[in-house]
């Protein structure tokens, strides 16, 4: 069986909020779990995130949002990805009220995490989604 290439994940911090404790912890946990992780740094522009994800050929985009701008940003990013025919799964984490989950999921956000979720759960879900994306894109080659 050929070995799977390493999973590549983009952790992004869109919007103007500067609290990136969570984003950095997730980035490290994913790296410790053997994935290749790119972190955008603060105030990543939505266009730039999508551009980087496509160029870097990542298997998943993780967005950290705490400022309340999650609806605007979540919708913009999923729409931009659709426009460019990129089927990269998107997950979100941070302070995202449960009443907004349906809207974001209907837009195509694959999973939403909050403070109550354990890191291992997040890592497992990322691996599952990223692996599925990697397999799908390789079979499409």
């Amino acid at each position: 069986m050929p070995s799977e290439p390493r999973l590549r994940v983009l952790v992004a911090k869109p919007g103007l909020d500067g609290h990136d404790r969570g984003a950095k912890i997730i980035a490290r946990a994913l790296r410790d779990a053997g994935m290749e992780v790119i972190y955008t740094g603060l105030r990543a522009n939505v266009e730039a995130i999508v551009q980087a994800a496509i160029q870097e050929d990542v298997d998943l985009i993780g967005l950290s949002m705490l400022s309340g701008a999650h609806k605007t940003v979540g919708v913009r990013i999923t729409e931009l990805l659709k426009e460019r025919d990129a089927d990269i799964p998107v997950i979100m984490g941070g302070v995202i009220p449960s009443k907004d989950h349906d809207l974001l999921k209907s837009q195509g956000v694959a999973a939403i995490f909050g403070q109550e979720d354990k890191i291992d759960q997040v890592v497992a879900k990322v691996r599952e989604l990223a692996l599925a994306h990697q397999r799908a894109s390789r079979s499409g080659d």
Binding site: H19, K24, I25, S67, G68, V95, Q115
Partner: protein, 593 residues
């Protein structure tokens, strides 16, 4: 034989267990007949006896619970018991002294809360200026004694509400202030000589301060009678909070501009609140204190380089720290911090006035300690934290809200937090005596241990040529990220326990709390308000003011006068910051993790 003392000490059994001390005890008794307290030697001897006779058999049967880490969050070991032996070398006058006097360990004022209750200052501000004005009037009516303004992110970063960067963020985490109109509306009917106002504002602090001053001018209140605080601490933005705009050097210049300006024109206003967001980003309590005091040191040096007299600006420095549920360590942290700062100001920077040596501290209780799981439990956490900071003798307290992990607070949550402070003040005996935990063997030992630990970290920073260089190199950011990751792993493995999260974790779905929601139409109405302000102003005056600001920025003048003139003709937050961005460029963030 002398008459036996009325109060007999149990020295018979003690002496019996240590024969060699018996003779000495008797000899001393002969010199000073009558009751006398046990000597340290006697206490040590008797402790050893207790350990052997009483403790050891119990420990053999039921040892310490090994899943509990017997150490503080800063990694200071916590002993089973503290005794006078632990404070044997404590020099009361040198290390503790009197409240209101150097080294201020026990408090910065001679009467503390007997003379004046701490300021109850709840962070608030949301949506539009009109909504914030209504919330402020409500809080003042409910007995709050100071105002604290939360600003939305576009205002914090110098974007107007109609800027593309502001989309989706207007009025979300605080109020939007685009121009002087908004500031006027927030304080409509609130006389600025009757309240003190704290602004959690950093990169755009010079602009907000200028607007506040302009409102005072319009209300007919003299600038030197206006009291309040702008956070104006950019170093911690680079290190942890992330709300920077300009690169480090021009940011430092503006910080000093504000300090210098206030020392001349707004002498009751705190031009800086050196803040410890490092803690919420992951640092331990000792590191939090060390990083924050080191930031203070960097600002002191910058002001001295500007040519200011230390006794002119040092009394205006104020501080802001985080407090979690690690109760005793928090109390020790503040006591140690006051001691370190006063010694440093006196010995290293030759500050002569006592007020130049005082660590005046405001704090937030809550932050990262608050949990989303079973949110009402947060009321207990906030109460413990509020007890800690009042026992530590702080000057101003913000108790965060139990729904912090969900959203900005609802009115009920905000009121409950204010009530926590009022209960501590009116229903407990905490405020009745100064430094109520002072003299506790545990607290004094812990204060000394914290001091040592904080100084160790500060020394490390000095060896790396101070905080500015530690930020430039990314060393500080990586230290903090490392600690945050370590904490997360401790929670994961259960080494640190959080009720409702990793012990007694609720199987039920998360409790729903009422969530404060920002009206989605708000962004549009704020943009309309901004456009109206732009239409109605004297455009030539605005252009002139911005040109002058640009010219001053390219030179070396203090930028505050130009900024005050610009806000008075209704130049916007985005236009003023945009001018500075044009001159200085933007900071480039690190992407390391």
């Amino acid at each position: 034989m002398a008459t036996p003392p009325k109060i007999s000490r149990p020295d018979v059994s003690r002496a019996a267990s240590r024969d060699e001390s018996k003779a000495r005890v008797v000899a001393e008794d002969a010199k000073a007949p009558g009751p006398r307290p046990a000597t340290l030697d006697e206490i040590r001897a008797d402790r050893e006896r207790w350990e052997k006779e009483t403790l050891a058999p119990t420990v053999a049967k039921s040892p310490d619970q090994d899943e509990i880490a017997y150490e503080t969050r800063s990694g200071i070991p916590i002993k089973r018991i503290y005794t006078p032996e632990d404070t044997a070398s404590l020099d009361y006058l040198m290390q503790l002294g009197w409240p209101g006097e150097y080294p201020f360990t026990r408090g910065i004022y001679p009467t503390m809360y007997r003379g004046k209750t701490w300021t109850m200052r709840q962070y608030a501000g949301m949506g539009t200026a009109t909504e914030t004005n209504a919330r402020f009037k409500y809080l003042l009516k409910e007995g709050q004694t100071g105002l604290s303004v939360a600003l939305d992110l576009p205002t914090q970063l110098g974007f107007d509400s109609d800027a593309p960067e502001a989309e989706g963020e207007v009025g979300k985490v605080g109020v939007a202030i685009d121009s002087l109109h908004d500031m006027e509306e927030i304080f409509n009917g609130i006389p600025l000589d009757k309240v003190t106002t704290s602004f959690t504002i950093n990169a755009t602090a010079p602009i907000l301060l200028a607007m506040y001053r302009a409102v005072a001018d319009k209300q007919g209140v003299a600038a030197n009678r206006v009291a309040g605080t702008v956070q104006n601490d950019l170093l911690k933005e680079f290190g942890s909070r992330g709300a920077w705009v300009l690169p480090i050097d021009p940011s430092m210049r503006l910080v000093v501009d504000v300090i210098e300006y206030c020392c001349k024109e707004m002498t009751r206003f705190n031009p800086i609140s050196i803040a410890s967001h490092f803690r919420d980003a992951g640092a331990t309590p000792a590191e939090e204190m060390a990083y924050t005091l080191s930031d203070g040191k960097a600002y002191v040096r910058a002001c001295l380089e500007r040519g200011m007299d230390v006794d002119l600006f040092a009394p205006r420095l104020s501080w802001f720290f985080y407090t979690y549920t690690n109760f005793f360590e928090e109390v020790a942290k503040y006591r140690a911090g006051r001691r370190i700062w006063s010694r440093m100001m006196k010995e290293e920077f030759a500050a002569k006035k006592p007020v130049s040596q005082m660590l005046r501290v405001a704090c937030v209780c809550g932050g990262h300690s608050l949990q989303k799981a079973e949110p009402l439990n947060n009321i207990a956490r906030l109460t413990i934290e509020t007890m800690a900071v009042t026992m530590a003798g702080l000057q101003s307290v913000f108790t965060a809200a139990y729904d912090e992990a969900f959203s900005i607070p609802t009115e009920l949550a905000a009121k409950t937090s204010l009530r926590i402070q009022q209960i501590v003040n009116y229903e407990t005996d905490v405020p009745k005596t100064i430094d109520p935990l002072g003299g506790s063997w545990f607290i004094e030992s812990l204060t000394d241990a914290m001091e040592e630990k904080v100084l160790e970290v500060m020394d490390k920073i000095e060896k790396r040529r101070g905080m500015v260089e530690c930020l430039r190199s990314g060393w500080l950011q990586s230290q903090i990220a490392q600690r945050a990751y370590e904490w997360e792993n401790k929670v994961k493995t259960g080494a640190e326990k959080i009720v409702g999260v990793n012990v007694f974790a609720s199987e039920e779905p998360p409790q729903e709390v009422e969530i404060y929601e920002v009206d989605p139409r708000l962004e549009k109405s704020q943009v309309e308000r901004l456009h109206r302000a732009r239409r109605e102003r004297d455009q030539a005056a605005v252009s002139g003011a911005l040109e002058r600001l640009e010219k001053d920025a390219r030179g070396t003048a203090n930028l505050m006068p130009a900024i005050v003139d610009a806000v008075k003709v209704y130049a916007t937050t985005g236009e003023i910051m945009g001018t500075l961005r044009k001159v200085f460029g933007e900071y480039q963030p690190t992407t390391a993790f």
